[in-house]
């Protein structure tokens, strides 16, 4: 059947634009649009008008300040990964990280230490670690006034399971450890401890709620009941 003879779904295009067709109707229109430039052009005009109205109707709200950072970090990480590893490694790494996300992340990090040269390792393991986040929200933690040079961190909030931190920090001094805190209002709750340096993770042992702040401080190796130093990294949920 030629295009001229074919029936154009002119009457259904407005509802298609709105996503308001029933499934069978939607499939039929979508199939037609694949081959009909005229209807595709009409659709583009309906969409332009609709989303222009939607833009005006959007709520006036500031996105979280670290949303942009989280988006860019996550995808910069993917680039670093794909340029360093061959196709097979990329495919392997792109698999969704299963239930024990932090554990899988640790394995990934060990592999990366073995496989990648030192310079590149130092430059990219943090980014690659975030690239392993297959299903969750990434919130960057900001370095605070007394943060060690090159200190970086991100809070990962998976859709299921515990939230955890991906941190890149220098080794703590003897007798000290990095301690994570979930700050609810003004009240800090101890949420995990690590004596590690370099790239490591801390699974948050305290529940995390909307509006909570997560911070990292240097504490005695056994941990503290309340922070005894200023935070080196912090970020809000």
């Amino acid at each position: 059947m030629s295009m001229a003879e074919e029936r154009h779904p002119t009457e259904d295009l407005p509802a298609y634009t709105l996503g308001a067709l029933d499934e069978a109707e939607r499939i039929a229109v979508a199939a037609h649009l694949e081959t009909c430039d005229r209807c595709a052009h009409d659709l583009a005009q309906f969409e332009d008008a609709l989303y222009e109205a939607a833009a005006v109707g959007a709520v006036r709200a500031d996105p979280p300040r670290d949303l942009r950072t989280g988006i860019v970090l996550r995808h910069r990480a993917r680039v670093a990964r794909s340029t360093e590893w061959g196709t097979r490694a990329r495919e392997w790494l792109a698999r969704p990280v299963p239930l024990a996300v932090p554990l899988a992340l640790a394995v990934l990090l060990v592999l990366s230490f073995v496989a990648v040269g030192t310079a590149r390792r130092e430059a990219d393991t943090y980014a690659r670690a975030l690239a392993g986040v297959a299903d969750g929200r990434v919130v960057a933690l900001g370095p605070q006034k007394n943060a060690p040079a090159d200190a970086r961190g991100a809070l990962v909030i998976p859709r299921s399971g515990d939230a955890y931190l991906v941190l890149e920090l220098s080794s703590p001094p003897n007798g000290k450890a990095w301690e994570a805190w979930v700050i609810k209002g003004q009240r800090p709750v101890a949420a995990g401890l690590s004596g590690s340096g370099g790239l490591f993770t801390i699974v948050l042992s305290a529940p995390l709620g909307a509006g909570d702040v997560v911070a990292i401080t240097l504490e005695p190796a056994v941990g503290s009941s309340a922070p005894t130093s200023d935070p080196v990294l912090a970020g809000g949920t």
């Binding site: 509802a15 008008a49 939607a54 988006i71 860019v72």
Partner: protein, 176 residues
């Protein structure tokens, strides 16, 4: 071009896209979803979808902002579907007329003069047409669902959708 740079794997270009349209995307999702946390999560999902699909963008088939916002809206609908609910901010039929007519114009996103024209175009739609467009767009309801929930014949709902969208198109696309 921005989307071509994203398709080439340039994460900074994704940041540039966010700088340009992230605020309106977040604002739209904030309106569609139960709260800011959900809007943030779905914004991340949508930009990830942009990253994966950038090479499928066709400039001749629409503007970048339209393409991005459509991806955002689909991501929001997916989010609602997977959570098994439309969200606590479910669009009520009583509130529907306010959703477009009482638009909170974001002057930082939309040129003020242009925004006024858009708002006027929406406000001039007959209320029954504006209502069905609001319910379909913000609420994610199909024509059949709108007909069932408002006890209106399906043919009438379809007619209102068609007329309302056609007027929006005439008033907002032709005047450029």
């Amino acid at each position: 071009m921005l989307v071509e740079r994203i398709a080439a794997g340039n994460a900074e270009a994704l940041g540039d896209l966010y700088d340009r349209y992230g605020r309106v995307a977040f604002g739209m999702l904030y309106r569609m979803l139960p709260g800011p946390e959900a809007a943030e999560e779905v914004t991340q999902d949508a930009f990830h979808a942009v990253w994966r699909r950038a090479d499928s963008y066709r400039p001749e088939r629409g503007r970048v902002r339209t393409w991005l916002l459509a991806i955002c809206r689909n991501a929001a609908i997916d989010w609602r579907r997977t959570r098994g609910k439309r969200g606590e901010r479910e669009v009520s039929f009583d509130a529907a007329p306010e959703l477009l007519a009482d638009a909170k114009v974001d002057e930082q996103v939309v040129d003020a003069l242009r925004a006024e024209r858009v708002r006027k175009a929406v406000a001039e739609l007959p209320a029954e047409q504006r209502d069905v467009l609001s319910l379909a767009f913000w609420g994610g309801y199909s024509q059949s669902e709108i007909a069932a929930r408002t006890n209106t014949p399906l043919g009438t709902v379809k007619s209102r959708v068609r007329l309302g969208m056609t007027k929006l198109r005439e008033r907002l696309v032709d005047e450029r």
